[in-house]
Amino acid sequence: MSDTSTTTSGDYESQLGDYFALLKPRVMQLVVFTALVGMLAAPVSVHPVIGFASILFVAIGAGASGALNMWWDADIDAIMRRTAGRPIPSGRVQPGEALAIGVALSGLSVMMLGLAANLLAAGMLLFTILFYAVFYSMWLKRATPQNIVIGGAAGAFPPVIGWIIATGSFSVEAWLMFALIFMWTPPHFWALALFMRNDYDDAKVPMLTVTHGRTSTRRHILAYTVLLVILAIGTGFTSIGGPIYLATAVVLNVLFLIGAVKIWNRNEDDSEADNFLVERKFFRLSLWYLFLHFGAILAEATLRPYGLGGWS
């Protein structure tokens, strides 16, 4: 991490909202939702109070890793347009405060999840925080163009943690949910990298668009999308799938594949001409893609006690 210049005057008093923004609330939403689906899709029921507390601590752990990431990446956040308004580069929160909040909330969330749920879930949360804050942020992100691929695992762990909260153990179904997010992350972020084209170059982050070129990135998006389609539809035939999931997955994956093929077929002139319309649409669709897949898994799990969900 290097020094960052602040843009806010020295007498600015940090507000609660500034500290909250350190926790990356939008990422927390995804973490809460996927961890909740992982917990509810498990074949073991959880007491509502324990379930609520556990998901809250997972969210706090995710927020803590977000704060540590912002502390470490403050120098490149200040350069990139997308991240220049974050609390540290904009001077609303001091780097030391972000570090303290990140470390304190990491410890609190892991300890409390261990008490509320079980030690395996707590251990998995600790591993996820370290994976994101240390392995991804401090090393991978600035070292390899595969940063998004490997780092995507950090965002994929929450449904596994949710499953462990309920069952106390790992299972194939939990890893299928992990794989769904893991394979979804590269096309999602590479589409973003295509239309936020100068950000990563300016910050010297070795994004695939920078190291291998934009044509190669388009090919990578298609390749990962094909693998994701096979995985997402295949999951429909497992115990967490069912008719609702399969119907949702078929529609979404056809749309996603069409989007990836369009991106692959385009060149930079086409994209510049319409201000990356196809890439932007693909990115927006990717958000719905993940939300609706997990929504369908949740629907199957919710209907299962009434004999309606799943294949039985």
Partner: protein, 58 residues
């Protein structure tokens, strides 16, 4: 020397302090709720010596 009831710093940080206070209060309530649920749902047979106690009580 008299102590001023409210320093300017306090009024500047009122929103922040109130928010932190509310969060701490909510945390205390959550721990209480967790403790209550854990204690009322405990299976005493799972505790060390629990099986012996259960046999003795039969």
């Amino acid at each position: 020397m008299s102590i001023r009831a409210e320093h300017e710093l306090h009024s500047r940080r009122r929103g922040r302090n109130l928010g932190i206070g509310l969060m701490l209060g909510a945390f205390v309530l959550l721990v209480m709720a967790l403790t209550f649920v854990k204690i009322t749902n405990i299976d005493f047979g799972d505790l060390p010596g629990g099986a012996i106690q259960t046999q003795e009580s039969n």
